[in-house]
């Protein structure tokens, strides 16, 4: 979840209002970042980078044939570097500033090239009066922008042209990811909402209308899915459903690998896949707990949920596969762990630990059947199951979040910053609206990213051509595209 940054001037104003009654409080005291929060967010940020490189790179790399190992490693690493630059050029601004007339969908360019950002500017968290340095927030969100397009790589691994991949990713983050992040995560922040609500409560009869208008304006200054009430703690829609559907569209448009279903395409190193999968789990603590943006009890809840949902999903996949296919496989167990991590991502700070275990068990079982049965029946070649794990797991998590956030089920409840200004309280839970908001967010993401990605693939196909030649694909992308080999024996 997220917010926008507060200008120092705005914070001063809020602080002034808050201390006006204190006799000696003439000096405005803007919130100062807490050193513990800063350290926590810096650590979380580098943990998310660890998920991508080498975590995701090795997880995917081990699953392809040895002749394509370096192509996958190169793609993931290159995407990380390119998107990191785009993020500070204009991505952060498009995601986390006010976009004027298009504000429902995307931000503007007011912070392009990090204009106005320096070591003293701050970003809001989810607690009133708690801020972190804006630069830390930008770095943290940068790692999300980097890993999301890298996830897509698995869907069309072993056959996409590197130049086409780079162009696709530049366009995809610009037109799909940055707007999605804005729509789900951009809002005014707790102090803006709390401050306006407080002003409304204190306004006299004649000022009521103006104060109400001010509060409405603060609430309206948010992304469209956020205003729908969709909950997404760490990126179920923005990251996983978004990347998963883009992967599905990609593998269908690019076509199956040569020899798919006939030749042996067994993973070349499941050892690498385990190392990568385990690094994903470790890094995911930064992803989920860090998404709380401050080191407190909710971050601890997210950490706990990230442990138990993952374990439950790994166990669920392992035993289901054992029962259905006869053997408990290591790849199945690690795949289950990733499915659990995906499912708990939107729920991390909202569900309770027991709810997260249920979520994990469902995700591990459903994703297993999807990857082993449904995919084969449909016949598309999603090389590394980006859709079956990330999109399917993401949908389970997103909708499950709407159910499990209920305090009656051990959840943390839906946050409410305006009922008691200056305090975070829990809004009344209603099953229908809560789940419908999630379903709407899922459907919107599927359509927006699915259609948008299809258009971008088509453009790249016309400009560069998506696929390597048959000979290059047979030789392997390592030699054909990068001129090097992963292994020399």
């Amino acid at each position: 979840m997220n917010f926008k940054t507060l200008s120092r001037a705005g914070l001063v104003g809020l602080a002034l209002a808050g201390v006006a009654s204190a006799a000696l409080a003439q000096t405005p005291a803007a919130p100062v970042p807490n050193k513990g929060d800063v350290a926590f967010m810096m650590s979380s940020t580098v943990l998310v980078l660890l998920m991508t490189i080498p975590g995701l790179a090795l997880f995917y790399g081990g699953l392809v044939r040895s002749k394509n190992m370096l192509s996958v490693l190169t793609q993931v690493f290159a995407i990380t570097c390119v998107v990191a630059l785009l993020w500070v050029f204009y991505g952060y601004s498009l995601a986390f500033t006010n976009g004027g007339g298009l504000n429902d969908f995307v931000g503007g360019f007011s912070k392009a090239f990090l204009r106005g950002v320096d070591a003293t500017t701050v970003a809001a968290t989810f607690s009133n009066g708690v801020v972190i340095p804006e630069l830390v927030y930008i770095c943290f969100q940068m790692t999300f922008a980097c890993i999301t397009p890298a996830l897509i790589v698995g869907a069309f691994a072993e056959r996409m042209k590197f130049s086409a991949l780079l162009l696709f990713m530049v366009l995809w983050v610009t037109f799909i990811y940055f707007p999605m992040a804005h729509m789900v995560w951009y809002w005014g922040g707790p102090d803006a909402v709390g401050g306006a609500a407080k002003a409304l409560a204190e306004a006299g009869a004649d000022g009521k209308a103006a104060a109400q208008a001010a509060l409405d304006a603060v609430n309206a200054d948010a992304g469209m899915l956020f205003k729908w009430g969709a909950l997404d703690f760490a990126g179920g829609t923005v990251v996983h459903i978004n990347a998963g559907i883009a992967g599905l569209v990609g593998c269908i448009l690019i076509g199956k690998r040569i020899g798919f279903g006939k030749e042996l395409m067994a993973p070349h190193s499941l050892t690498m896949t385990l190392i990568g999968g385990a690094l994903l789990w470790v890094g995911w603590f930064g992803f989920n707990a860090g998404s709380n943006l401050e080191a407190n009890g909710t971050a601890a809840l997210a950490m706990m949920n990230t442990f138990v949902a993952t374990a439950a999903a790994a166990v669920a996949w392992l035993f289901t596969e054992w029962a259905v296919k006869g053997k408990p496989s290591m790849l199945g167990m690690v795949s289950g762990a990733v499915a659990g991590l995906v499912a708990v991502t939107p729920a991390a700070g909202f569900a309770g630990p027991m709810g997260s275990i249920i979520l994990g068990l469902i995700a591990g079982t459903v994703c297993f059947f999807f990857c082993s049965t449904v995919k084969n029946a449909l016949g598309y070649d999603d090389s590394l199951d980006v859709f079956g794990v990330h999109c399917v797991g993401g949908i389970i998590g997103a909708i499950g979040t709407g159910v499990l956030v209920n305090t009656a089920l051990g959840g943390a409840g839906i946050p409410d910053y305006s009922s008691k200004p200056g305090e975070l309280v829990t809004a009344a839970y209603e099953f229908g609206p809560a789940v419908m908001a999630q379903v709407k967010a899922v459907l919107f993401t599927l359509v927006f990213s699915g259609v948008g990605s299809a258009i971008i693939y088509k453009i790249v196909d016309v400009v560069i051509g998506l696929r390597v030649t048959t000979d290059q694909e047979r030789e392997g992308l390592d030699i054909a595209e990068h001129g090097e080999r992963a292994y020399h024996d």
Binding site: M265, A266, K327, G332, C371, S372, T373, N376, D385
Partner: protein, 112 residues
Amino acid sequence: MKIVMAIIKPFKLEEVRDGLTAIGVHGLTVTEVKGYGRQKGHTEIYRGAEYAVSFLPKIKIEVAVADDLVGKVIEAITAAARTGQIGDGKIFVSSIEKAVRIRTGETDADAL
């Protein structure tokens, strides 16, 4: 002189080596090979993608011995490599026309 070539299960190599050493065989060449016989292949499943693997990993050993030792070598390999399951392997014996020890130039029986 004969050369005894045996295709065996990989995990039986150490036992075969011990058996051959016990009857006085001083040297052995080992190659990792793949192939199939009556055992056929096996099935590997990766997230539901089933692959029929038709070539199984085996070990090929080659031992050059004097004619009078051939019977004992076959006996030793058979005893050590047998599990009773399909896929234990095969032994082939053929004649050697000439043998030379590269270091000394010794030939035939002296070179073994």
